[in-house]
């Protein structure tokens, strides 16, 4: 197939493959192409244009919903463009192809003392896909988004031009391509400023909090730290509403770690391959499946809450970067335990003043609807300079819901109910997670002048409208 493409064959003769969002609640049949060079990617854009087919870009496919799939579209999978092009260990500047993942990045640089400035909860995220939605990490309140640390990108536009963009060159394109969900152009090279670390470990402190307000207060008291992430037990009943655990962590200063060469070793970072000493991790999701019903989840949440409470009484402890940041990678494929319906993550970003109230209402509404989220995570954020920014000066709350044949109507109703409240309070939604927002809701949640700017750039960079996705179609992102 790849051969056929190179010798001028049809994109449409590529085989159709079923691609799914990471949450498995959204899927699409796509004509699969997997270029290994910029020229091949360029060629696929050209052919698609000639054949009148549209393209959806995809990195590692870790977006929960339909951001990186497109029904009947050509899949432009960038994971085979995965080379490190240049590395400067003195200044910590790295040039990579878009398919390079976060895990590849730190594997390459950590032993030189550099860690990615921003990482997502999974290390499988590709740099191209991570910039496609402009990811944030647990350090978002201090370090902003991944895009904030990018020095330069190459963009292959929908009409086949290759532009180098940075905060000073093609500035408007730079700030629009990053975070716009892959509809303006293909990011084909990324120059990233890494962050200097003096240890392979971070210093973690755990707090047990009895309400969302308390969690927010403790967060606000620790703004000098590097990481803040709160876990809320959304199944806890009324009088314990919003109880949870907060992890506060910071990077170690130079000299604090007496054996940096030891802790910066990759072998020190690896997540354990087996669980409880004997269960292979790749099998673990099957065990999780047993807990994915309400009584099971209540048990897990309560047990975690009390375990964390014990931990909270312990003094601060050290944990490897990978261990602290990629908790969600401990059980590979854990989303499979949600089969066959999959799961959605409903994450909203709400300005400071309204955050507590909106998030409490989300928990209450979910409990009332009989679909309490199995996982609920609170983070703090900063505004950023990108056109399609989802960030606000406030907090985000990410809720995981199982999707089942019998709850899907209720889930839709619940999501739309919660969405109204978020919109009322000036909140935003996030391409990486969304799978359920309607066109009308999106339009009301996003500044109209920015949408106009996006569409005007679209008509310059991709005049025949080749780049799209099921998400873009669903929320009417490109519709005049």
């Amino acid at each position: 197939m790849q051969q056929a493409l190179l010798s001028g064959g049809l994109v449409l003769s590529s085989r159709m493959e079923r691609m799914r969002g990471w949450g498995m609640s959204h899927g699409a049949d796509m004509y699969a192409t997997r270029p290994t060079t910029v020229e091949q990617a360029q060629r696929i854009l050209e052919r698609a244009h000639e054949e009148g087919v549209k393209i959806t870009l995809r990195g590692s496919g870790q977006s929960y919903g339909d951001a990186s799939i497109g029904q009947d579209r050509v899949l432009l999978d960038l994971t085979r463009m995965r080379r490190v092009l240049a590395w400067d260990p003195i200044n910590g500047v790295i040039d990579v192809e878009p398919g390079v993942r976060i895990v590849d990045l730190w594997h390459y640089t950590l032993e030189d003392g550099w860690w990615p400035p921003v990482v997502s909860g999974t290390m499988r995220t590709s740099l191209g896909g991570g910039l496609g939605v402009n990811i944030h990490g647990k350090n978002s309140f201090k370090y902003g988004t991944l895009g904030d640390h990018v020095l330069e990108i190459d963009v292959l536009t929908g009409d086949g031009r290759l532009l180098t963009c940075s905060p000073s060159q093609h500035r408007d394109i730079f700030y629009a391509v990053i975070g716009s969900g892959g509809v303006l152009g293909v990011i084909t090279r990324i120059r990233l400023q890494m962050k200097r670390v003096y240890s392979g470990e971070v210093l973690v402190e755990t707090f047990s909090t009895r309400s969302i307000q308390e969690m927010i207060d403790v967060m606000e008291a620790h703004l000098d730290q590097d990481y803040l992430v709160g876990w809320v037990d959304a199944l806890a009943p009324g009088f314990q509403l919003g109880r949870g655990t907060l992890h506060v962590a910071r990077n170690l200063q130079e000299g604090e770690d007496k054996r940096p060469h030891h802790t910066l070793k990759l072998s020190y970072q690896e997540l354990p391959e087996v669980f409880l000493g004997f269960v292979p991790k790749s099998m673990l999701w099957m065990g999780l499946w047993m807990f994915l019903h309400r009584p099971g989840m209540r048990l897990v949440n309560t047990a975690k809450f009390h375990a964390d409470r014990r931990e909270a009484s312990r003094p601060p402890y050290r944990q490897s970067h990978a261990g602290f940041n990629f908790l969600l990678d401990y059980v590979p494929g854990w989303q499979k335990s949600y089969q066959p319906g999959g799961l959605i993550q409903y994450q909203t970003f709400v300005p400071k003043a309204a955050a507590r109230q909106v998030f409490e209402q989300q928990i209450l509404l979910s409990q009332k609807a009989g679909i309490p989220p199995f996982l609920a995570v609170l983070k703090k954020h900063l505004p950023d300079p990108f056109l399609m920014s989802y960030n606000v000066d406030g907090y985000s709350f990410a809720l995981d819901y199982p999707v089942r044949e019998r709850n899907q109507r209720r889930l839709h109703r619940l999501a739309h109910e919660m969405t109204e409240i978020v919109i009322q309070h000036g909140g935003r939604f996030y391409f990486a997670k969304d799978g359920i927002l309607t066109e009308n809701e999106f339009k009301r949640s996003f500044p109209a002048d920015r949408l106009r700017q996006l569409r005007s750039l679209k008509s310059q960079l991709d005049p025949s409208g080749i780049l799209t996705s099921d998400m873009a179609d669903r929320i009417g992102l490109l519709k005049e």
């Binding site: 449409l12 085989r15 159709m16 493959e17 079923r18 799914r20 969002g21 498995m24 609640s25 959204h26 899927g27 699409a28 049949d29 054949e51 009148g52 087919v53 549209k54 919903g65 497109g70 029904q71 009947d72 579209r73 089969q339 066959p340 319906g341 999959g342 959605i344 999707v403 089942r404 044949e405 899907q408 839709h412 799978g435 359920i436 309607t438 099921d470 179609d473 669903r474």
Partner: protein, 256 residues
């Protein structure tokens, strides 16, 4: 349940060839009511546009898409098939309902007529349904529907080649079903008795005749329950069973 479909907001798409009249038209209306988006194919584009406008009434975004095409232009079909799936992404059902049944005088042996019957009823069906088969064998789901006829179950005196075209279609569909079963693709053979459509308007004394919307309802039900063969209406199943048992030397002497 195909994974990743529960939250898909867009409608599944049904492609209907021969949608400008009769059974195809009724099926298009019915499926649109059931929640499908419909791609309408036939030669008379004006008729299709009017039908699409009616179906689209009350919907903010269009759910019916008309395409002009003559099924005997076989080489156009692969391109048109792709064009349709781009314009209406999410094809789940392909129905071939185009067909002709020219009247034949008792002493008429007209090859030109015969050829066009085979061109439209059989070769057009094969050209379209092969495209559907190719796609669905890759997406590992989908439904293919061919409209045969009770006339194909026996070689009566009348409509020689019409009956032959339906018999051939029947065998083609059975073979397709066997070939696609490992890919979870459903192939339905519909065998209508008389239906009140322009095709039969000139005929008198049609037994058990039904209206097109009744036929559409029964076909849709057979699609959902993944039937292999459905007689429309159901009474034709026992009748045709009996008729098929009649030995040829006797059948020849009977009046039909």
């Amino acid at each position: 349940m195909t994974s990743g479909t529960l939250l898909r907001a867009a409608r599944p798409v049904a492609l209907i060839v021969g949608a400008s009249s009769g059974i195809g038209e009724a099926l298009a209306r019915h499926l649109a009511k059931e929640g499908y988006a419909v791609a309408l194919v036939a030669r008379r584009i004006e008729v299709l546009r009017k039908l699409a406008a009616e179906i689209n009434q009350g919907h903010a975004d269009p759910i019916a898409f008309p395409f002009a095409h003559d099924t005997t232009h076989y080489t156009e079909i692969p391109t048109l098939f792709q064009q349709i799936s781009q314009q209406a992404p999410g094809l789940e059902l392909v129905v071939y309902a185009a067909g002709i049944m020219p009247t034949l005088a008792p002493d008429e042996f007209d090859f030109t007529k015969d050829q066009s019957i085979l061109d439209i009823n059989l070769l057009g069906a094969i050209a379209w349904l092969n495209e559907a088969a190719k796609r669905f064998s890759q997406t590992k789901r989908g439904t293919i529907v061919g409209i045969g006829s009770v006339a194909g179950d026996r070689g009566r005196r009348g409509n020689t080649v019409y009956a032959a075209s339906k018999a051939a279609l029947d065998t083609y569909l059975e073979s397709l079903r066997n070939r696609l079963a490992p890919h979870d693709v459903h192939v339905l053979t519909v065998k209508p008795g008389p239906v009140r459509t322009p095709m039969t308007a000139h005929l008198k004394n049609q037994p058990f005749i039904i209206e097109p919307h009744q036929a559409a309802m029964r076909i849709a039900k057979a699609i959902h329950s993944r039937r292999n063969i459905v007689y429309v209406p159901g009474i034709w199943r026992p009748i045709m069973w009996i008729i098929r048992q009649i030995p040829s030397f006797l059948f020849r002497k009977m009046s039909f």
